[in-house]
Symmetry: C2
Subunit: 379 residues, 2 copies
């Protein structure tokens, strides 16, 4: 599949870049945020609604789609885009993170990983080659290599062994590529150890992937450590390829990472929080279940242009949430994704206009400084 | 509130009527089907989607909205239409059916009914006057009187006592009406007893309501008995007021009832079935979870013009259903309501064109004769 990354602009005072990725399913601008559509649907929304809030690229999950409904079924039905009625680019995570989250249910060897399905306990064996094959069958635009996501904390010795194996798997993944396959991204691992991170980044760079992801972050390590790891790693990655920080994060995390040269993000935060009644605003998050909103006629955020804020009061949203109505998840998800995608749009405009530091200052002035801490407590 | 019913056409060979109801929130054609929006939302859909599938009038529930979020809250927020972002007519059921479903949790007296909330066990006392007051606060277009819904089967003696009390309550409800209140519909009760049904119908007719409902049907009695009760009752109701068969029913029930002169319906069947993966087609119902649809690339029904059928395969809908994805409820509900509203539209056109018997013949030829029996088994 076609894949092309252009740097349109580089911020003078930070590492931030404005870019454009071209694929067979159209282009998207970076920095970009990908909503998570694990099973081929961003929970509660239609593709038209995703487009409506500004989504340009979607993330789905190889592990989940492999188990259900199966990549062969999706291939027979014309590929993932057609199956889920989404015509724009799709990136699939490899399933590394999900498989290694299974704990005792999986066993790793040089060849690959054996695991039990979280659905029915059936045994499965995935190799780097097989994971490329599955993503080929899905027909996605961007595929991720199979990696081992190292838990936090892990001892240095284990991180070293694991990162080296992930490196060998990355090489095998590239070798498994065929003409017409999705663009393949490598995943930098190395835990929280500088030499391992650097070694992993150099190795992947030399192998020559279409893009480079940073994995194993946002898994419980302190926020400052995550930013430090970005500082070590990003400069070692090629400038002419997109950089993807997997599974991150809060609006503040995303802004900070963009300033360190990251181009691509995915996270369940806006969608999962929405279903839990936690709504993003410029001032931090708002928990819609609180009694103080029972008769509050205002929208979630004054001036917000999303469908939810244009038509519904906090009082109605609270009523839907407490009544466990499906519409609650929908309206909240629309708002939170509109917020995230809107923030990314503003950031891109600021990079373009050379005003990213101003944006950061305004953002931090408004944003509740305690919010990131609350986040950890609430979710 | 303004309320006006015009008979536009009467079918020559059946009792069916084509009509138009005018309210302060616009007009709607009859026969009409009202989707059930118990708590101020038709589960999983937005108002725009309801309009998109052809909904012209919505049903909500007095009992549920009284308990949560409370009619006073809704009144303070500008009324139910504004609260739920629905600009067209709304009818509220009185809550009689819900309260009498509570069994041991309610106690009836001449004055009214005491019951415990199904939410928190709190004690409440509702009278016919209070129920009018609640619906006034909600600001709906059509209000229903408080009635006692007699269970099936019930002994004659109980049905007689109850029906007479419901009659006295109907009179009190009318007396409680003020200038500018919603149009008020009486509810014919009488169980399955001809003399009680007839007496109830005559009494309500003489009291002079804006419309007349038949209650206490579709509560477990045989289908033929329900149709027989319609035959006894409908001729006694005024021709120049709408007739509403509460809580009914299957497509076949609705068609039969329209041919006996019924104008208005509500039922949870299309929406609840949708959430359970049971989808309406011209041939009967289709259970989307079945393995035979796992790789079926066809829409639910070929030729259906609904959003779901235009974009999604049975295979994807099955995948969403088995994965318990929220989008499953949405796409299925859109299809089922499109089917119901489309059937009503065809019936209205057939009354207008004098071809209702042809429509009935074609409907019965296609419709799976066993479907109504299966329905009872599955839901």
């Amino acid at each position: 599949m076609a894949f092309f990354f252009e740097r349109l602009k580089t911020d003078g005072s930070t590492q931030a870049r404005l870019g454009r990725v071209s694929t067979d399913h159209g282009t998207f601008l970076t920095p970009a945020f990908m909503p998570v559509g694990t099973l081929g649907t961003v929970k509660s929304l239609t593709p038209e609604e995703l487009v409506g809030v500004g989504v340009e690229i979607l993330l789905a999950n190889t592990y989940h789609l492999y188990l259900r409904p199966g990549h062969e079924t999706i291939e027979r039905l014309g590929g993932l885009h057609r199956f889920i009625h989404w015509e724009r680019p799709i990136l699939t995570d490899s399933g590394g993170y999900q498989i290694f989250s299974l704990g005792d249910l999986r066993k790793i060897s040089e060849e690959g990983v054996t695991f039990q399905s979280h659905l029915d306990g059936s045994l499965h064996f995935l190799t780097p080659e097989k994971v490329v094959e599955i993503q080929r069958a899905l027909g996605v635009d961007i595929a991720m290599v199979l990696d081992e996501c190292i838990p936090y904390p892990s001892p240095y010795e284990y991180a070293k062994v694991s990162t080296e194996r992930t490196g060998r798997w990355a090489r095998r993944s590239l070798q498994a590529l065929r003409e017409g396959d999705p663009a393949l991204f490598g995943i930098v691992q190395g835990g929280v150890f500088r030499d391992l991170r650097e070694e992993s980044a150099r190795q992947l760079r030399d192998l020559g992937f279409s893009g480079f992801a940073l994995g194993g972050l946002s898994v419980g390590e302190p926020r400052n450590l995550m930013l430090e790891i970005l500082e070590w790693t990003t400069p070692l990655l090629p400038e002419d390829a997109p950089r993807y920080l997997m599974g991150v994060g809060t609006p503040r995390d995303i802004l900070d990472a963009i300033m360190q040269g990251i181009d691509l993000f995915d996270c369940v935060l806006p969608t999962r929080n929405a279903r839990n009644g936690s709504l993003f605003t410029s001032y931090g998050r708002l928990s819609i279940k609180q009694a103080r909103y029972a008769q509050d006629d205002r929208p979630i955020e004054e001036g917000c242009g999303c469908y939810t804020c244009r038509h519904y009061s906090r009082a109605y949203l609270r009523h839907l949430y407490l009544s466990k109505e499906i519409l609650s998840s929908r309206l909240n998800t629309i708002h939170n994704l509109f917020y995230y995608l809107g923030l990314l749009k503003k950031i891109r405009a600021a990079i373009d206009g050379g005003t990213l530091l101003d944006l950061q200052r305004d953002f931090l002035r408004q944003w509740d400084a305690d919010d990131d801490a609350k986040e950890i407590a609430e979710t």
